[in-house]
């Protein structure tokens, strides 16, 4: 459903296991994230680069589309009624918007002590600190820390509200395509999911590729998937008029 394959990669890059990454994804381009080995997790935060107080909003994204999972046809809303990113392709079927990220205490209790002095670049990273470091490079900080997305991971919710990590959600070669509808500051890290029961520190690498893509047409699957998204695209297009 995505015209991405018709255009050449502008560039390609690997996020190493447990590493951070950021980029201003321009309107008219799309980012493909590929799970290289299977079982990856990619934590993501998203901001309007021109005015970062406008930022990804988990509740607005979920309630506008009546979802607690992300896949192709859905979009990521900012807190200003606009669409930051559209999910135009997905071979996984479920990406987690609710499970959050890990922090130092959790990583230490799960995987034991670790330090740069002892482990060099294999030292254990956590999602919270990774987000803060990458946000800091753009002049942003703890006040800009918001609910994140976990690509390639799935959290199941039982009737009583119990949350459980769904193992084996993503396989080697699976990918998700994110089309930028605004100029979006994308903050990523490849730390393990906080609810991943794997007792070992084993974050996975992911490959990134960026391409130019056509702007969404009137019959764009993300635009017509819900009447709410039609209005979301209208408000986003007005921002650029």
């Amino acid at each position: 459903m995505c015209p991405m394959s018709e255009t050449p990669n502008l560039w390609e890059e690997l996020i190493q296991p447990g590493a951070t990454w950021s980029h201003v994804l321009k309107r008219g381009t799309a980012l493909r994230i590929t799970d290289v080995e299977g079982g990856a997790n990619v934590g993501g935060l998203f901001y309007n680069f021109e005015c970062p107080t406008e930022r990804y909003n988990m509740p607005d994204t979920l309630k506008a589309q009546h979802i607690a999972r992300l896949t192709a046809g859905y979009v990521l809303y900012s807190d200003m009624g606009r669409i930051l990113l559209s999910i135009t392709g997905d071979t996984v079927g479920w990406h987690d918007p609710i499970g959050g990220t890990s922090n130092r205490k959790l990583v230490e209790s799960k995987y034991g002590p670790s330090s740069y002095q002892k482990d060099r670049n294999e030292y254990h990273k956590n999602g919270h600190d990774s987000f803060l470091v990458e946000l800091g490079k753009w002049g942003l900080g703890p006040r800009d820390l918001i609910a994140n997305v976990n690509f390639f991971s799935r959290v199941d919710v039982a009737d009583d509200g119990a949350m459980s990590f769904h193992a084996g959600n993503s396989k080697a070669g699976d990918y998700v395509d994110l089309r930028a509808e605004m100029n979006v500051l994308v903050i990523l890290n490849s730390c393990q999911h906080p609810l991943d029961p794997n007792p070992k520190y084993e974050p996975k690498p992911v490959r990134l590729s960026i391409r130019q893509v056509a702007s969404p047409q009137l019959d764009d699957p993300c635009r017509i998937s819900r009447p709410e998204n039609g209005r979301g695209f209208t408000l986003t297009e007005r921002y650029f008029l």
Binding site: T53, D60, H128, A158, M163
Partner: protein
């Protein structure tokens, strides 16, 4: 989904008596409220007329950048719903408050707060003018005059709201499970700033299209 949770170990009544409270205030429908709760003090929110959404944020009173985190809270307890014994966790992992009594049984923290802009997306672009929670949040923090701004408005709790997630990953807005007089009570585990928008939403059946007042009460710390 049954409309009312009538039993369960999480349904706990408080022994605190309203006449002993050191502070009582009725928040009119659609108004904000901002107030410090000291460590050890108890905060009760009473749904006076039933099924009123009480959109609530908490901050570490000594560092507003350390604030309530919906994701950390549900992740730590591995459960989506807030009720008795839920620890309300901050972005740095601090326990801000613990829910110690709950006569409703379930509270939401995924649905967020309404805004002029999200109303335009959800209902109609012509609804921009309608009063919304995030405008109340902004008004309250501007009047609080301690340097807070939109950057500090984040994903909140909706006390008395029922927003279940299905096994297929759908988010549903079910009929309310609250009733007149039901309440939730929390003990502050550190000094916190509480920020409430008593939701003015008129487009959503959750409150029967009729926002109503709620009462907040504070008791002193037990010596």
């Amino acid at each position: 989904m049954s409309a009312t949770i009538t039993s369960g170990k999480n349904l706990v009544e408080s022994k605190l008596r309203p006449e002993d409270a050191i502070y009582r205030h009725v928040i009119p429908a659609g108004d904000p409220w901002i107030h410090e709760i000291k460590r050890g003090q108890y905060l009760r929110i009473v749904d006076l007329h039933g099924n009123q959404a009480v959109d609530t944020l908490f901050y570490n009173a000594h560092d507003y950048s350390d604030r309530y985190s919906a994701q950390d809270t549900i992740q730590q307890q591995r459960n989506l719903y807030l009720t008795t014994d839920t620890k309300l966790i901050s972005t740095t992992g601090t326990v801000l408050l613990t829910i110690v009594a709950d006569t409703c049984g379930r509270h939401d923290t995924l649905g967020g707060a309404c805004a002029n802009e999200s109303n335009m997306v959800r209902y109609a672009i012509e609804k921009r003018h309608m009063h919304a929670c995030r405008s109340s949040f902004l008004k309250a923090v501007i009047e609080w005059d301690q340097g807070m701004s939109k950057r500090d408005i984040t994903s909140n709790i909706n006390f008395f709201m029922n927003v279940p997630v299905t096994p297929e990953g759908k988010l549903t807005f079910e009929d309310g499970i609250s009733e007149p007089g039901k309440y939730v009570e929390m003990r502050a585990e550190t000094d916190v700033l509480a920020l409430i928008s008593n939701c003015p939403q008129l487009n959503n059946p959750c409150n029967a299209y009729n926002p109503t007042p709620v009462e907040v009460l504070i008791w002193a710390a037990v010596p």
